[in-house]
């Protein structure tokens, strides 16, 4: 890897009018960072697990379904499935990685007060932006390179056309470039990496997930036309179309989709985002360098005129401390630093939910697939937001004290370790109550509006109980993990990433994939009748069990956190 890097470094000077010395510096620094090695190993590990899962799922599913026919078409089918899996994994991973890698690109410079120093050198803001963008994207591409040999090997099984591989790689690359530039743009005004990541992911869910479903739901007549427009700028839909074509699935008749056009659109959009970023970087750097005054010393106030916010807060009345001090202090924090914007975001989300319910109310039923898809996006979007917010609130309640060096002061008070942890946990939960309540309501709403008939209605209501138990378990787990990593790690970003990462690993890979593997045969063997009931019973118990296991793990994490509380105060 390092040989590759030095090669690239030697080519870099030719591009220097565009990237300047920043690119060079970034590559040198990032090859030294432990973060990148961790990222690479995690990527490879996840990819392998994922491929193995797809492999076994295809094989066991196929065998159970039709043992005789299976032998003949087995290899081609497995090959296609595995390739699709790799390509989709790459596609999602590349975007996520690009977003994460660039999420502190400008805010980091501002925090270290190097941005205004940079602006006093002959480096211009285009060079800063491009240097950052290209160097991090290069890391992303190198990461993708790891899975290329795999693609080549799996192609031996046959059945996968080259043009699918090529077109999907192009779609992946342009999507990653776009996501990265968006992340860079946001990092100009957002201090914390997780705000950037969360906002972009939520935005993606809305624009690329909820919106297309809404269009499909609301305008059945002109569907093909609207969808064609909405899909053309939507990397996920374009990718989906390519996959449909490759797997020779019916897809969506009447919807136009061209991947080269899509890639061109994405590159154009990237150029626009970059231009905006260049403009904003210059503006902010200049205001840092000249407009600031003495109040600018606080990095918390970056990117905004500090005095306005201060005046607003100064006008609030003094509140007396009530109850346990740690809880009180956490609850005293504003809902979000960028109050209004977040509230608007939630209002938009709520509006979309309402809009999506209305047609179902009138037509009586959610329109099959589109309705389910919409609910699916809403529930997963909400769960994601709730979990990440919970992770942020619990992890940051400790790491932000470390970052602001108030942690030693708090620990020098006679508050018990358990008291501090309990206070932080309670506050994290209480601050997240509205979102959690919304999530439970959403689960109830699905059942109300979907109007299942017959025995599955009862089953779907019955299933609410384990779902709520799992949710409660998840809350305990995420708070436990958040506080644990908050205590073990120094930076908020690392602690939040570790919490979300471990949770996703547990939830998706351990509880999701492998228990699914165990359940498949059961589902298939039964067919209908008693077998189906057995399957339901098993999956019900599984969900309860998972909830309880989460809660147990969460409590374990809290106990570990308590034991480690005073290990690394500084």
């Amino acid at each position: 890897m390092s040989a590759g890097l030095t090669d690239i470094l030697s080519v870099a000077p030719r591009l220097s009018w565009l990237t300047g010395p920043i690119f060079d510096k970034e590559l040198r620094v990032s090859s030294r960072r432990r973060r990148n090695y961790v990222l690479r190993s995690v990527y490879v590990a996840l990819l392998s697990v994922f491929i193995l899962y797809v492999w076994f799922a295809t094989v066991s599913f196929g065998r159970a379904a039709s043992p005789a026919v299976f032998q003949v078409s087995r290899m081609a089918r497995v090959g296609k499935n595995v390739i699709t899996a790799i390509i989709w994994f790459q596609f999602v991973a590349a975007q996520l990685i690009a977003i994460v890698m660039l999420s502190t690109s400008i805010s980091g410079e501002i925090r270290q007060r190097t941005l205004s120093v940079l602006m006093t050198t002959p480096i211009n803001s285009l060079q800063i932006v491009m240097g950052k963008l290209l160097s991090q994207l290069l890391q992303t591409v190198l990461l993708l390179g790891i899975s290329l040999p795999l693609l080549a090997i799996v192609r031996i099984f046959g059945g996968v056309p080259w043009d699918y591989v090529v077109s999907s790689l192009c779609i992946t690359l342009t999507a990653a470039v776009f996501a990265g530039s968006l992340s860079l743009l946001m990092s100009i005004t957002s201090r914390q990496a997780y705000t950037v990541v969360l906002t972009i992911v939520t935005g993606y869910l809305i624009v690329f997930g909820v919106l297309p479903s809404l269009i499909g739901l609301l305008s059945p007549g002109a569907r093909g036309f609207f969808e064609s427009i909405a899909f053309q700028g939507n990397p996920f839909m374009t990718m989906l179309m390519r996959t449909y074509v490759m797997l020779a699935l019916p897809g969506r008749a009447g919807t136009f989709s061209s991947w080269p056009l899509h890639c061109a659109i994405m590159l154009g959009a990237t150029a626009g985002v970059v231009a905006l970023a260049v403009w904003r970087v210059r503006k902010i750097a200049l205001s840092k360098a000249f407009g600031g005054g003495k109040g600018q010393s606080n990095p918390a106030e970056m990117g905004k005129p500090a005095s306005r916010r201060r005046r607003r807060r100064a006008a609030l009345p003094i509140r007396r401390v009530d109850g346990p001090p740690v809880v009180w202090k956490e609850m005293r924090k504003p809902f979000s630093r960028r109050g209004k914007r977040v509230i608007i975001l939630y209002a938009v989300l709520a509006g979309m939910i309402l809009v999506s319910f209305v047609p179902m109310l009138f037509t009586g039923r959610g329109r099959g697939g589109a309705g389910y898809a919409l609910f699916y996006y809403l529930v997963s979007g909400f769960s994601l937001i709730a979990i990440v917010r919970l992770a942020v609130l619990s992890a940051a309640s400790i790491t932000s004290e470390k970052e602001a060096s108030t942690w030693p002061i708090l620990l020098a008070t006679p508050l018990d370790d358990a008291e501090i942890l309990r206070g932080k946990a309670i506050a994290a939960f209480r601050r997240n109550v509205p979102l959690l309540a919304a999530l439970v309501l959403l689960h109830i709403a699905i059942r109300l509006f979907m109007r299942f008939g017959g025995p599955s209605a009862l089953y779907s209501w019955l299933y609410l109980i384990p779902e709520v138990i799992t949710l409660a378990g998840t809350v305990v787990l995420v708070i436990g993990l958040g506080l644990y990593f908050g205590i073990r790690l120094k930076s908020t970003n690392a602690a939040v990433a570790a919490t979300v990462g471990v949770y996703v690993g547990l939830a998706y890979f351990c509880c999701g994939m492998f228990s699914n593997l165990l359940l498949y045969p059961l589902l298939l063997r039964g067919g209908g009748g008693p077998g189906r009931r057995l399957y339901m019973l098993v999956s019900l118990t599984r969900t309860v069990f998972v909830g309880l296991a989460y809660a147990g793990l969460g409590i374990l994490a809290l106990r570990r956190a308590r034991r480690r509380l005073r290990y690394s105060v500084f």
Binding site: A300, R313, A314, P317, V321, V326, S405, I409, A412, V569
Partner: protein, 308 residues
Amino acid sequence: MIKTQNLSKNYGDLTAVGNLNLTIEQGDIFGFIGPNGAGKTTTMRILVTLLEPTHGTAFINGLDVRKHGKKVRRLVGYMPDFMGVYDDLKVFEYLEFFAAAFSIERRKRKGIVEGVLELTDLQSKQSATVDSLSRGMQQRLGLARVLIHDPKVLILDEPASGLDPRARIEIRELLRELKRMGKTIMISSHILSELEEICDHIGIIEHGRMVFSGTLADIRPHLGIQSKVRVKVTANQDKAVELLSALPPIREVEVVDDYISVTFHEGKEGDGLIARSLVEAKFDLVSLQPEQLKLDDAFLQLTKGMVH
């Protein structure tokens, strides 16, 4: 009141504090000085139970800091070198939060907070948000916070850094006032002239080892420094030099600029003798001024100026 026994703290191979023994009596102000990286902050952190020592123990008011963490924390007010503030809170709320953390009853808190605000001259700022305060104000707020639970022992790590001269003088006054109230204070600072004025005892530490500990008066014989006097006469300076050189307790006489610098033999003082001799010989004595031993000089002599 504060006592350490062979206190050591290692970070890997690096010995931040090595076999440190120190005793601070009740009601003393103890100045803790040493070059950068000497181990002052580390020692203080151990004393306030935020760091575990590698070896040795420390006692505060007879309580072992390793065993009675919570009791020690109640006794001690600690002001760290880099003090953070909760930027979402107002000054009053910030102080009340800590009052609550020290489990002071709710109805008593208001009075206590107002008391410390007055003591640190921050009343006018009580509804300002903490992060809008200037550096010096935040420092004062830190001091106010330290005092909120009326601790017996104060451990202050560079409390005067970043303060303007006026605020420094105010802090000095405040510390004197606290001493009068019977508190034991351990204070580290790089501004030696400041410590000189308020400290009863000083400890000089280098590479984690105590190179000197005692009163300022002790430091003179410790270093083998003799006392010096500056003498100024209106005329006939040369004759005055001759006269003074003949006096028995005087070791050295030299002319520096427009005054005469007189050095006595070790342990001897003779201001009166000089004055009497000069006046009897009809010199016009303008001034007679003992030359202060600067803590700075002692510091330079005792430490080797190596930063690790």
